[in-house]
């Protein structure tokens, strides 16, 4: 097709047209890079092999919990009775393990700053099946099987480096978690790609044997989320048979366990053995496929742009081409230089695309690691390289084909002899108009879609969350007092709890005296906790109708809570100190809750009952709703505030004075004045907690802003490309018009009229497609809130863009005396 000589000529020619070369390489590099990154993301989620041997034989067992009517109440939970399977595994399995995540973070008590850690409780099979690589020491072995009560631990390399200075002597050393000392037997290498069964955000820092899982002590009828039965099939094909084999067994065991529990009668569990890949993928692929579609669209716009640029370049080279033709150059001679240039451009673009893709991986890992799975496996991969090469080749061929079809060799040959003003490289008017129309349609589609998402997430971000968060902190407390024994009589347990509450209140009052502290409160959780966890309480509003139960998120707290967070009371009053001290049976509910009790929300004085009617609460206040949808609820949930008792998960809540800070040591010192058992586990900024919840909105806003900017930029370059190309072709004609008296404004007006026609046609097409898309989405469950601004603004912008680029494209012609255009300068 071309030789080395052509390549070096082409390189020289491109160095003389740096602007053109840079535009092509940048446009293509950016969009191709984005596409490659999105392809890789989808490939990792959907198709890439998992980093575990025989991954297709790995399954994750859990049960769905079905209500009386067969509807699913909870997915992926584990009834305690399932543990019995572990003792006599199915003969379809070659290996098995139990795996559970700690519900609350624990603290490393052997360290003075008592850092918080996340724990995975498991059996030796897990480390075998998932080939946990050990940096030092060993994995769990038979000595750590269920029932061994062997207090050993495997640390993650991260924790080992961060808290133990990567000290090799840690092997055999003891660490203290809760009230138990564990001997470190292994350090898991950072290369271990931990299977994230409950989503990408949760990783573990320490692995402990199953026996130390609090869940393992629970009664037979308990049911837990975040716990799994992991298995490796002998044959991949056995999965369904295995599922069918276990289903009746597990349900039978469950039925036995709930016998005599009237509230459970009729409920059942259904065992599922999910392929590991399916579980890890979750529902992320629906999002990532949209991102792939968006990037493909960007690339299409870019391709249309580049076609324009290539064609206009060929048009500019027309004179030299026609001279070459006159000197006897064949068609392929003329094409070879164009192709040689194309080769350089595509190569450069491919290189840039790789860099862009790498940058995209880094960005995704930095900002989306908690929302998308397998991000840390993104990177170089053969199939991805193959894809990028193929995509580049395909584009190159497409461009080459288009160019060669547009170079009219015969016309070129004649152009020198004839009046000299004919042109051999010319896209027909139709093609040109079609290009403009396509371009504006694609840009409009992309702009409108991303503007919709952008507006939606911006609206969410702009909204007040409903409570103050700046300078507010959540302090989790590590209580080193021996845990109350469940065998203790109830009164004794309650007394212990009450004493703990008394002590915490004393701590609170001490903290309130501290000069840095504005306000302090004690509660199970703040309005939004660092881990997203909240307490819940259920109420019966009407004793005559005991089956109507309303669930709520509950804060068991004191009279300082609502003022601390500036949560306004819409009706009624706050708790009194007296009510908090006596654990009075009063409750404050939020507006959403109130409106469910009475449509007018006027509920002061109304009563709520505990299930079974043992306790009767009086509603004394109605608080304002929050506005912070989280992963559990898209709408404001019912909330209630009780002064009654402190349930597990106690936090000290602080508002510091502006510019003030308080560290763990100072807090620990204050606490030690009250009780030797209290330590500060961790200090979380409520502001950060809020940001974490809003992260997906930030992410959506960032991605779509990038999309909007990029697609607008591409559309601008593209439309400018076509217009300036056609202005270029018509320069002489415009010169003639000017010679016989057309004013600059007349020329501009005429061009605008001509240019707007295809743009408007493209916009009309896009509008129709969008309406079709919108109607299509109405059929699905996808919630789309259409905003008129997000629809009209992009279209108006594209029209404005056309006007500006029209002006820009003929500016060089109409701003100079007519002779310049006539002489082709």
């Amino acid at each position: 097709m071309f030789n080395l000589q052509d390549l070096s000529t082409a390189l020289y020619a491109l160095s003389k047209a740096k602007g053109y070369a840079a535009t092509v390489v940048l446009t293509l590099g950016l969009t191709l890079g984005t596409l490659i990154a999105m392809f890789n993301l989808n490939y990792q989620i959907l198709a890439a092999p998992l980093p575990y041997a025989d991954e297709e034989q790995l399954v994750v067992g859990s049960t769905a919990w079905l209500d009386k009517d067969g509807s699913v109440m909870y997915q992926r939970i584990m009834p305690q009775t399932m543990l019995q399977l572990y003792t006599k595994p199915s003969d379809k399995l070659s290996d098995q393990a139990l795996f559970g995540y700690s519900f609350v973070s624990m603290t490393l008590r052997d360290l003075p700053d008592t850092p918080q850690i996340q724990i995975g409780y498991t059996t030796p099979g897990f480390m075998r099946m998932y080939q946990m690589p050990l940096l030092l020491g060993r994995a769990f072995a038979d000595a750590e099987e269920i029932g061994s009560h062997n207090a050993v631990a495997v640390l993650s390399e991260k924790i080992w480096r961060k808290h133990y200075n990567a000290d090799p002597a840690m092997l055999g050393r003891r660490i203290r978690i809760g009230n138990v000392d564990f001997t470190v037997v292994g350090i898991a290498a950072a290369a271990f790609s931990e299977p994230r069964f409950i989503g990408p955000s949760r990783t573990n820092d320490v692995w402990l044997p199953w026996d130390f899982n609090p869940v393992s002590q629970q009664s037979a009828n308990s049911i837990n989320g975040w716990h799994f039965y992991l298995a490796k099939l002998k044959h991949e094909a056995d999965r369904l048979a295995f599922e069918q084999e276990l289903r009746p067994q597990i349900n039978h065991l469950f039925q036995e366990s709930i016998e005599g529990l009237p509230s459970q009668t009729g409920r059942s569990v259904q065992f599922n053995a999910e392929p590991l890949r399916l579980l890890l993928k979750g529902d992320s692929s629906s999002r990532t496929l949209w991102m792939l579609a968006g990037s493909l669209m960007l690339l299409l716009i870019a391709a249309a742009n580049i076609t324009n640029l290539l064609l206009s370049r060929a048009a500019k080279q027309q004179r030299s081409m026609s001279i070459q033709a006159a000197l006897g150059a064949q068609r392929h001679h003329l094409l070879s230089q164009t192709f040689a240039e194309l080769t350089w451009l595509m190569l450069a673009a491919l290189l840039l695309a790789q860099l862009v893709a790498e940058a995209a991986y880094a960005l995704l890992q930095a900002y989306a690691a908690n929302t998308l799975p397998r991000l840390f496996e993104l990177g170089f991969d053969w199939p991805v390289l193959l894809f990028s090469l193929l995509a580049t080749l395909l584009l190159a061929l497409l461009f080459a084909l288009l160019i060669s079809r547009q170079i009219n060799y015969r016309a070129l040959q004649q152009s020198l002899q004839s009046s000299g003003k004919g042109s051999g490289v010319q896209i027909s008017n139709r093609t040109r108009q079609l290009l403009i129309a396509t371009q504006s349609a694609l840009a409009a589609l992309l702009l409108v879609c991303s503007a919709q998402v952008l507006l939606q997430s911006l609206t969410q971000l702009r909204q007040q969350v409903g409570f103050s968060s700046e300078q507010r902190y959540q302090i989790t407390i590590d209580d080193t007092a021996p845990t109350s024994d469940s065998n203790q009589p109830r009164e004794q347990r309650q007394a212990a709890q009450r004493q703990r509450k008394e002590e915490l209140m004393q701590v609170r009052d001490l903290v309130r005296q501290h000069p840095a502290v504005q306000q302090a409160s004690v509660s199970n959780y703040p309005p939004i906790s660092f881990d997203g966890v909240y307490g819940s309480a259920t109420y019966v509003p009407d004793l005559d109708n005991p089956t109507r139960i309303l669930a709520s998120r509950v804060a068991t707290t004191d009279q300082y809570f609502l003022p601390l967070f500036d949560i306004p009371l819409l009706q009624g009053r706050n708790f009194t100190a007296q009510e908090v001290a006596t654990q009075a049976l009063v409750v404050i509910v939020n507006q959403a809750f109130a409106q469910k009790l009475r449509p007018d929300g006027d509920v002061i004085g109304q009563r709520l009952y505990s299930q079974g009617g043992v306790l009767t609460y009086e509603i004394i206040g109605v608080s304002a709703n929050h506005n912070l949808p989280d992963e559990w609820s898209a709408e404001e949930p019912n909330r209630s505030y009780l002064p009654r008792n402190l349930i597990s998960g106690t936090s000290l809540l602080l508002q510091l004075k502006p510019g003030m800070q308080l560290d763990k040591t100072a807090l620990n010192q204050l606490m030690s004045q009250v009780s030797a058992h209290f330590r500060t586990a961790e200090i979380y900024s409520i502001e950060d907690n809020v940001t974490r919840v809003l992260m997906s909105n930030y992410l959506a806003a960032a991605v779509t802003t990038a999309l909007v900017v990029l697609s607008f930029l591409l559309a601008a370059i593209g439309i400018y490309g076509v217009l300036s190309y056609s202005a270029q072709l018509r320069r002489f004609e415009l010169g003639v018009r000017m010679a016989i008296g057309a004013r600059p404004v007349t020329i501009l007006r005429q061009l605008l009229g001509e240019n707007l026609k295809p743009v408007l046609a493209g916009l009309a097409l896009a509008a129709m497609l969008l309406i079709a898309l919108w109607l299509g989405l109405q059929q699905t469950t996808l919630m789309v809130e259409l905003s008129v601004g997000g629809f009209a603004l992009p279209l108006a912008l594209i029209v404005l863009l056309t006007v500006l680029t029209s002006l820009l494209s003929v500016w060089g012609i109409i701003r100079k005396p007519a002779i310049y255009a006539l002489q082709g300068q």
Binding site: S419, G420, K421, F732, E733, V736, R737, M738, A739, I740, G741, A742, R743, P744, V745, T746, I814, R815, K816, P817, A818, I819, Y820, L822
Partner: protein
Amino acid sequence: MKQQKICMQGITKVFATDEMETHALRGIDLEIFAGDFVSICGPSGCGKSTLLSLLGLLDMPTQGSYQIEGQEVSGLSLSEAAYIRNEKIGFIFQSFNLIDELTVFDNIALPLRYRRNAVPKAELEARVMACLKTVDMTHRAGHRPNQLSGGQQQRIAIARALVGSPALLLVDEPTGNLDSKNGDAVMDMLSELNSNGTTLCMVTHDPRYADMASRKLHLLDGRILDAEGTPLTQPETLLRQVAGQ
């Protein structure tokens, strides 16, 4: 005393390119009167086309004053120059320069469409048809330029130049792209127009055609020579230059 149409005084034109400055015109004084037929000749590169484009306000002089029918035009804006061009000047180019997408009729009508005050449709049609008649091309009104021969195209170009009743008709090598028979026909047409009162200024290489003019100007190195071949202005500069070479 004949009416003065054009008056140029001390017109110079310098083209500044990256490497050098080209003095295409070095002080032109020129008067053209109503009914004149001026021919401009001279060796290649002496500045004929440059002079013509200045005369036609296609370009602006570097220095000097230029009046059309007594109105100073050397410092006009692009837009104002376009109006003057439209109303007072007609162009005939060597390469016809018709617009391919427009019909013969529309090509001719174009100057009227660019008028400051819109020309009524009926008047426009009448004037276009009258011009077509002048160049004897009435039967081709609906054709496209590329369906015509070179001679025919040039006649359409003449019609287009005439349609606005310009004060001055500027012609650059009108026969350059034509054979001698067609060239003669075009020249006959131009001298006929002149005898009917049109003021003409024509650049040509062909001495036969130059002789048809009532006044002949010789251009050399950006200056006008008199009939004997000595510069009309600033002779000492030229002599110094010749001596210097």
